[in-house]
């Protein structure tokens, strides 16, 4: 197993008037391939900020991020987001005027790492894998439950044929039973398909099932 994502001296802070609050302080860490990580930490510790930076949605003030040894700044953040990673959000972030299938297809066709074969069939297969039947896949996402939407969000994250998936409080809006099902999905992705999952969570239940638990405190990451 090699390093899929390497953080090197990452710094980030907020400026509030004349006061600057440092969130990440020369944070360094290496994430290994095919592992399910959960990042824990108290509220306001900067978990979501760290995830945004790792997912290329925001830019660190200093430091480097390497994906498979390649500096993500050099490959441009757009390309990094499009071709190297998938993101699952707490509020699913699906496009409301598209069906579940179309949301997955969107991700599948937007990437440069297109999966070979018939995209529609592949999308149905991915949705079936995460527990969405074809009849539900063809509905507008606004007509589906939260759990179903989150499953579609996970299918969408893996549809772009990437090895690294970030999840920001993926079960935050779900009931306990659904939470369990989503955790199992992440486990399956990691164990069966060798995907690296990095999930930010408050939930001990989620972290309990991960391969590796990391604590973000005082601006740095420490293994638990």
């Amino acid at each position: 197993m090699g390093t899929i994502l390497k953080l090197e001296d990452i710094c980030y802070g907020y400026t509030d008037g004349s006061y600057k609050r440092e969130i990440l302080k020369k944070l360094s860490y290496e994430f290994q391939e095919g592992t399910f990580y959960t990042i824990l930490g108290p509220s306001g510790s900067g978990k979501t900020t760290l995830l945004s930076i790792m997912a290329g949605l925001d830019k660190q003030e200093s430091g480097k991020i390497y994906y498979m040894g390649e500096d993500i700044d050099k490959m441009t953040l757009y390309k990094y987001r499009r071709n190297k990673i998938g993101v699952v959000f707490q509020s699913y972030n699906l496009i409301s005027y598209l069906t579940g299938l179309e949301n997955v297809l969107l991700s599948m066709t937007e990437t440069d790492n297109k999966l070979p074969g018939n995209h529609k069939e592949l999308a149905y297969a991915l949705l079936n894998m995460v527990g969405i039947a074809n009849t539900k896949a063809d509905r507008l996402v606004t007509h589906l439950s939260g759990g179903e939407q989150q499953r579609i969000a996970i299918a969408r994250a893996i549809a772009c044929n990437v090895d690294l998936i970030f999840a920001d409080e993926p079960t935050g809006n779900l009931d306990t039973a659904t939470e369990q099902e989503i955790i199992k999905l992440f486990q399956m992705l990691s164990e069966r398909f060798g995907k690296t999952i990095i999930a930010v969570t408050h939930s001990n239940e989620v972290s309990k099932f991960s391969d590796h638990r990391v604590l973000l405190k005082n601006g740095i990451l420490n293994d638990l």
Binding site: T48, S52, A55, L57, D58, Y78, K79, Y80, R81, R82, N83, V87, F89, Q90, S91, N93, L94, I95, S96, Y97, L98, E102, L105, L106, S107, T109, E110, T111, L140, C160, D168, E169
Partner: protein, 513 residues
């Protein structure tokens, strides 16, 4: 799923928003079609009327300007001198203008009423002739009109008004050599049993003064001009027996009594006659009057007429040559009358264009605002797309495609309803315009212009022009509207695009979370 597919799905599935935007485009489309349709119909009517008119331009003295100038010279001697040396058309300039490639033919031609010696005119059969025949000897009347020209390519030949029936037209060599030749009408030839090769005799000298010439030791017959008939032609020109002037028309005004001849030949005759006349009747002339004045008078036409290849070239032709004509000379395309006739259409076109501009500007503002406001509700979607690595320009393009689809839908429907509306509104406005113009014309009395005997301008009325006014939405106009619509959307998308470019995916998604 690319931006185009996403745009189509958005338009289809957000039907309420799409419907409202399509309605907006529909209303805008109707107003634009109304404006452009009315304006285009007005322009078309003017073009069609222009095409009906002959493509004729006259190089002439601007007498109105000249009299204005001369009458205002305070010193009487200077004023008299100015009157004696009034402006005339310049031969060199006339020939230079004739070299323009748009000129098909031109008439550098003088005309003069002459006496025929043993030559019978073609009678008009009007009251004037009957009275004169009873009271006067026809041989002492000017019964013929000589038309003497500088070159053989006349308008009448180019337009087919004259067709040579027998013999041939005189050539440039005949003109340059001042040969005593002429062409006469078929009717005049028949009247006198003349054929090609025969001769006719004419003179410009007043036959009633024969005794004066003999008393001075001259034989008036020495001034007779014998011309060989080298061509007999048919003319389409005729006089209208129902016209007001017909009753008292002189026979030389009949096109059938026209004698065509080289200008050089005619000028030589006029100089010979002038020399003798100055000797016989010196008191009739200004002491400063010389043979040069006679030559100048004889060889200078009142106007030079150019026939152009296309009526639509007339304005440009006038513009191109007007700068170098000299004082008190002008190129007249009869534009003033045409412009007066076109006034109702011009007013309509002007206001229609203003409407179009107002609508277009408002459309840009409205669509910009609507899109910007809609964008606020779509930030979340944009954040998701950005998080998936869709670039901002592609998101702008998607937005543009959505608007263009709705614009095309709205404009498509508007092209049907707009044409009906434009037709009705256009006719209504035109009716109002012409009725108010008519009141004005009653005082102005210049809404109609006539072709005088030596006028080459075509007779066209305002009714002719207005009858050409038809609002129709042509495929070209629809294309124009769609291009305009795309342009409106393109400009309207600028502000929302800046808003998109400023968006930060992390911020959007965190706010949502």
């Amino acid at each position: 799923m690319n931006f185009f597919q996403r745009a189509i799905r958005y338009v289809k599935r957000k039907s309420a928003k799409s419907f409202l935007l399509a309605i907006t485009f529909f209303v805008i489309g109707n107003l634009v079609i109304l404006g452009l349709g009315v304006s285009q119909a007005a322009d078309n009517a003017k073009i069609l009327t222009r095409k009906k008119m002959r493509a004729v331009v006259s190089y002439e003295v601007d007498y109105e300007a000249w009299w204005d100038y001369a009458d205002n010279i305070e010193d009487s001697e200077e004023r008299e001198a100015a009157y004696r040396n009034g402006p005339v058309v310049q031969k060199e300039k006339a020939l230079e203008i004739a070299k323009d490639e748009r000129v098909l033919a031109f008439n550098y031609m003088v005309n003069d009423a002459v006496y025929g010696i043993d030559l019978e005119f073609v009678p008009l059969g009007n009251d004037a002739e009957k009275e004169l025949t009873d009271s006067e000897n026809t041989s002492v009347r000017q019964s013929f009109m000589v038309y003497a020209n500088l070159q053989p390519e006349m308008l009448e030949m180019a337009e087919g008004t004259f067709t040579i029936l027998e013999g041939s037209w005189y050539t440039q060599q005949d003109i340059d050599g001042a040969r005593p030749v002429c062409c006469i009408t078929k009717e005049l030839a028949d009247q006198n049993a003349l054929h090609v090769g025969d001769t006719i005799t004419i003179t410009s000298v007043n036959q009633n003064n024969k005794q004066d010439y003999e008393n001075a030791g001259y034989n008036i017959e020495d001034l007779n001009l014998e011309l060989e008939v080298i061509g007999i032609y048919d003319t389409k020109e005729n006089v209208d027996p129902n016209s007001e002037n017909f009753k008292w028309m002189s026979s030389f005004e009949s096109p059938k009594n026209r004698i065509m001849m080289p200008l050089t030949t005619y000028v030589e005759h006029k100089i010979a006659a002038g020399e003798m006349e100055l000797t016989v009747h010196p008191s009739w002339y200004d002491p400063n009057y010389t043979i040069d004045d006679i030559r100048k008078g004889a060889e200078t036409p009142n106007k030079v007429i150019y026939l152009l290849d296309d009526p639509l070239n007339v304005d440009k032709f006038v513009e191109d040559h007007s700068g170098s004509l000299g004082d008190f000379l002008r190129l007249n395309a009869n534009n003033e009358t045409f412009k007066k006739m076109a006034r109702p259409l011009d007013s309509m076109s002007f206001f229609a264009n203003i409407v179009v501009w107002i609508v277009v500007i408002n459309a840009i503002i409205i669509i910009s605002l609507v899109t910007a406001l809609t964008l606020k509700t779509r930030e979340y979607e944009i954040g998701v797309l950005l998080s998936m690595g869709v670039s901002k320009p592609i998101i702008v393009v998607q937005l543009f495609v959505e608007l263009v689809l709705l614009a095309f839908l709205g404009f498509g429907l508007a092209s049907v309803s707009g044409s009906i509306m434009a037709g009705n509104v256009g006719n209504l406005v035109l009716e109002y315009q012409t009725s108010s113009e008519a009141k004005y014309e009653d005082n102005d009395n210049d809404s109609y212009f006539f072709a005088s005997s030596d006028s080459y301008f075509t007779e066209v009325s305002q009714d002719d022009m207005l009858s050409e006014y038809h609002v129709s939405v042509s495929p070209l106009l629809i294309l124009e509207i769609f291009i305009l619509g795309t342009g409106v959307v393109l400009i309207a998308i600028v502000i929302p695009s800046f808003m998109i470019m400023r968006l930060n995916p992390k911020q959007i998604l965190l706010e949502q979370n």
